[in-house]
């Protein structure tokens, strides 16, 4: 058995019954007939995983975990993909990276120990942060996203970072923000570049340790997943708690006095926040505590929420656009004026699908959870 086939034991792939429920629910299979998680499993198990590494469909899976919700024997399909991708990377195979691979290069560059980054330019004087303390705000990719996407879309990713610090300040917390924070490595993990992931993780853990932080807050669900679960899994436990900002807001909801925001909204559950971390209620609780906000759920929500169509900056194609378009149509059909998401990447992907052909555009505002909470604070 080759190495990748051996790895299959861990993701329970051997237990697959070939029932096809995964293919029936997968958002990619819905628009791309040649993509079938069931077949990828059957091929891998029957012919050996080595046969899959040159298959371009290997890079299509969103690792959104939707199929695992339905699987009767709990096959962890995303992990199966990760393991085969890891073998593919070892053999120098790579899929179609979006944006010319720029974002992957940034992730890999961030693993260079000698790097001294300038990531904190967005911190203005009215935001209170410090360099040592109990609570740390892990900003994630927002500064890079800002440089890369702010010009293309009418959207400034760094407002999410500013608003997160505003919310924390409102709670009387002066968070630590690291000057030289590295990419959390989440995407490289799912792309099977596990060594680079470990390097990034070690650098981050060292930096976080030096600040003495007991609680790490993130505004990105992927950072939360990486810091909370993936670092523990690959690098041995971490000695701090990790919370997404929505959890913190929901816990402290009595400490907020929101002003009225008259708005009909609907909520996009990010895959990592929902299906991976199980945080469904907290963002809803926080949003609904704002007077004037009316929340309409989409038919596919919570465990059954549909992914924003692209992950890990890979394989953005017509299928991704179709997923995004149908998801936005679903959001619009609830009668909501604004789609609230808690993940910066969902926002980038949805906004991208709104660009271009005006006649095809689904006209709905998209905003981040922290933006809406912070706007109710100012009011």
């Amino acid at each position: 058995m080759d190495r990748a086939t051996l790895e299959l034991k861990k993701s329970r792939a051997f237990l697959c019954l070939e029932c096809g429920k995964c293919t029936a629910i997968c958002p990619i299979s819905r628009f791309n007939n040649s993509y079938s998680p069931r077949r990828l499993l059957a091929d891998g198990l029957f012919y050996g995983a080595d046969n899959l590494i040159t298959n371009p469909l290997l890079w299509s899976c969103l690792t959104c975990q939707l199929c695992s919700q339905r699987c009767p024997v709990d096959v962890k399909f995303s992990e199966y993909m990760r393991d085969i991708r890891a073998e593919a990377c070892r053999q120098n195979q790579w899929g179609n990276a979006s944006h010319g691979g720029a974002l992957h290069h940034i992730m890999e560059m961030a693993a260079a120990p000698a790097l001294k980054q300038n990531r904190t330019g967005w911190i203005s004087d009215n935001l209170k942060v410090k360099s040592k303390g109990e609570v740390l705000y892990f900003v994630g990719c927002l500064p890079y996203h800002h440089d890369f996407f702010a010009k293309d879309f009418d959207y400034a990713p760094l407002t999410a970072a500013v608003d997160t610090v505003k919310i924390l300040n409102h709670l009387g917390i002066e968070p630590v923000v690291l000057d030289n924070e590295r990419c959390c490595g989440h995407d490289l993990y799912w792309l099977g570049q596990l060594e680079k992931f470990d390097e990034l993780g070690r650098l981050n853990l060292k930096e976080i340790e030096q600040t003495g932080a007991k609680l790490v807050v993130t505004s990105c669900p992927e950072c939360a997943l990486a810091l909370k679960r993936l670092y523990a899994e690959r690098l041995g436990g971490v000695n701090f708690t990790v919370k997404h900002i929505s959890e913190l807001v929901a816990e402290n909801i009595d400490k907020f006095e929101f002003s009225e925001v008259p708005l009909k909204v609907t909520f996009q559950d990010p895959c990592r926040l929902g299906r991976y971390l199980g945080v469904y209620d907290q963002p809803r609780q926080a949003i609904m505590a704002i007077p004037g906000i009316e929340m309409q759920e989409m038919p596919h929500s919570r465990r059954g929420a549909i992914c924003c169509g692209t992950t890990n900056w890979m394989n953005c194609d017509a299928v991704s656009k179709q997923i995004q378009h149908s998801r936005l149509t679903e959001a619009k059909a609830t009668g909501a004026q604004t789609l609230v998401t808690a993940c910066p990447k969902c926002q980038i992907h949805f906004r991208c699908s709104q660009c271009g052909d005006e006649s095809q555009k689904v006209d709905i505002n998209i905003t981040d959870f922290v933006n809406i909470v912070a706007s109710a604070l100012e009011g």
Binding site: A97, G100, H105, M109, A110, L115, D147, F148, N180
Partner: protein, 155 residues
């Protein structure tokens, strides 16, 4: 390369830093300009590798960042002068892309002088030599890139 020299000739205390530069040159002007430099036997620094692209507008942040990631000490993007681009507005696009790259390079904490955008026409062989010489001199004063390491082979 630099490291090897210092090992064989132990007496030279510190190996001199020789910059490694990647130059993206558009097919219609700058690459031809580099050819002209060769034909005219212009004498200039040899520490660069040219990558020919059809147009400078093709060079995206991904290309420049990849070169830097793999250990280039400097990256040059060169195209036709404004108004001369074979694809009419490709070099305007190059400016946009380059601004984006520059912002990312700054955020990553690399010196923004490590990347450079220049316009060299097919006739300007001498100018190509000057641009390279100037850039090499600048990178030499900046020293090796913090990412300058032996790259592992990976796509």
């Amino acid at each position: 390369m630099a490291g090897k020299v210092s090992k064989t000739k132990k007496k030279t205390a510190k190996a001199k830093f020789v910059p490694n530069i990647v130059a993206f040159a558009c097919n219609w002007c700058s690459y031809a300009g580099a050819d002209t430099a060769g034909i005219n036997r212009v004498q200039y620094s040899p520490n660069f590798r040219v990558i020919r692209t059809m147009c400078s507008g093709r060079v995206t942040p991904g290309h420049v960042l990849k070169a830097l990631k793999l250990g280039a000490d400097g990256v040059l993007v060169s195209g036709c002068h404004f108004g001369d681009c074979h694809y009419i507005f490709g070099n305007y696009k190059a400016v946009e892309q380059f601004d984006r790259t520059k912002a990312l390079v700054k955020t990553l904490g690399l010196d923004e002088r490590r990347i450079r955008l220049e316009w060299v026409s097919a006739a300007e062989g001498t100018r190509w030599g000057e641009v390279i010489d100037e850039f090499v001199a600048q990178i030499t004063t900046l020293g090796p890139s913090p990412l300058n390491h032996k790259p592992k082979s990976r796509k």
